[in-house]
Assembly symmetry: C2
Homo-oligomer: 236 residues x 2
């Protein structure tokens, strides 16, 4: 192990490597059952080295959670833009991302698992998650729903008060996969399509398929509308 520059890695790569290894072990065994010796072994170092970068096991756990939830926090930026185009198209795009992140990405799933498992030990974790991730997302979704209502595309509904109802199927698929494993995963494009289909029918304005009064697009439920450059899901 006499690679040049091996000792110079401290401030650059070591903390990231430790956090990476810690995530795998915490996700596998939970906070209490995780042994720092195992984390160190996975990172290719010894336990003492961990304490050069993190003052305690708890701090390592908090740092790991914060680091691993970064993608979720960054994803929010895209959602907070002012809505334009078809509200349903915005939802379609958003839930495609959301689904890819919360269901198909193993890391985000495991973050959710650890949040649920360790809230009693780390109450601040849930608070931060709500303040930085879920809360803003709920508010953004609420704006989209109101935008759709103002636009005449959506009817007034409980979705304005509880935007949570809109992404509930994503949480469902996430917890399902967490609980029953990848072998029984509830995903695939069909599930997302079904989610969006029920959503559209549940939200859309009026009992008859009349187009919204603004843009000249067709009926709202015929495929995705304008207002986004992101790929659309196929619809059966």
């Amino acid at each position: 192990m006499a690679v040049a520059g091996q000792r110079r890695r401290r401030k650059e790569e070591r903390p990231g490597e430790i956090v990476e290894a810690a995530f795998e072990e915490f996700a596998r065994s939970g906070f209490m059952a995780t042994k720092l010796d195992d984390v160190a072994a996975r990172a290719g170092i010894t336990k003492g080295t961990i304490y050069l970068y993190f003052p305690s096991k708890e701090d390592l756990f908090l740092a790991t959670m914060h680091e691993m939830s970064r993608p979720s926090r960054e994803h929010l930026a895209a959602l907070t833009a002012a809505p334009q185009g078809s509200a349903m198209a915005i939802l379609r795009t958003h839930f495609a991302f959301e689904y890819a992140q919360m269901v198909e990405d193993r890391r985000t799933r495991e973050i959710i698992r650890m949040l649920l498992a360790e809230v009693s030990r780390f109450p601040d974790l849930a608070d931060r998650w709500r303040a930085e991730v879920i809360g803003p997302e709920v508010e953004a979704l609420r704006r989209v729903v109101r935008y759709g209502v103002e636009r005449g595309e959506f009817r007034p509904s409980a979705a304005e008060q509880f935007p949570h109802l809109l992404f509930a199927p994503v949480i469902m698929a996430c917890t399902w996969r967490l609980m029953f494993g990848d072998d029984h995963a509830l995903d695939g494009p069909a599930y997302l399509d079904g989610h969006l289909d029920l959503l559209e029918r549940g939200l859309m304005c009026g009992s008859r398929p009349n187009p919204p009064p603004s843009a000249g697009e067709g009926a709202p439920r015929s495929g995705a509308g304008e207002g986004t450059t992101l790929p659309e899901r196929s619809r059966p």
Copy 2:
């Protein structure tokens, strides 16, 4: 402590008391962090006594989970009856129960938390839960949806393939409360009403509010229909 018959409680009450105390401790701290001394103290006995009734900590945990999930298993009996009356009314009744059990009942919530937290340590737990609780529920819901379609009340939709979409908001409210605590609970009748409203609009047949061809009830979304003797939720 010279109450007559105090020593005769063994086969009758002791195991139940231990399981009860164990549930509280496991729910509070998770499997690993729970100390059997604390369980014993909560049950008003000493650790040695636990080992008179349960061979190991793991066995105590499994027994606790099995015992505490009994209400959920028993609740299924009501759901497997042959559907009759309005399909929407069946769903309404069912989700009122489901909501009371999975969201408002602290014990069932904590069971879900422990299942999610400890699947990697006890893989059989999730299998049993799927085989005995969730699986039958999904199938029962699927039958209700098909019944609604055959009856002309529901349109064909992805809910036939994924009945999970229907109870996703219940799981959402459950995990929300697990994560953010009772203070930020997402419940109250309004949430359930919103859920049912979106569900009804999402499932109902046709684009115009025509009544189903069978019974002479009004438009499907005006209150609960016939076919059940259970109490209805208020609708705003």
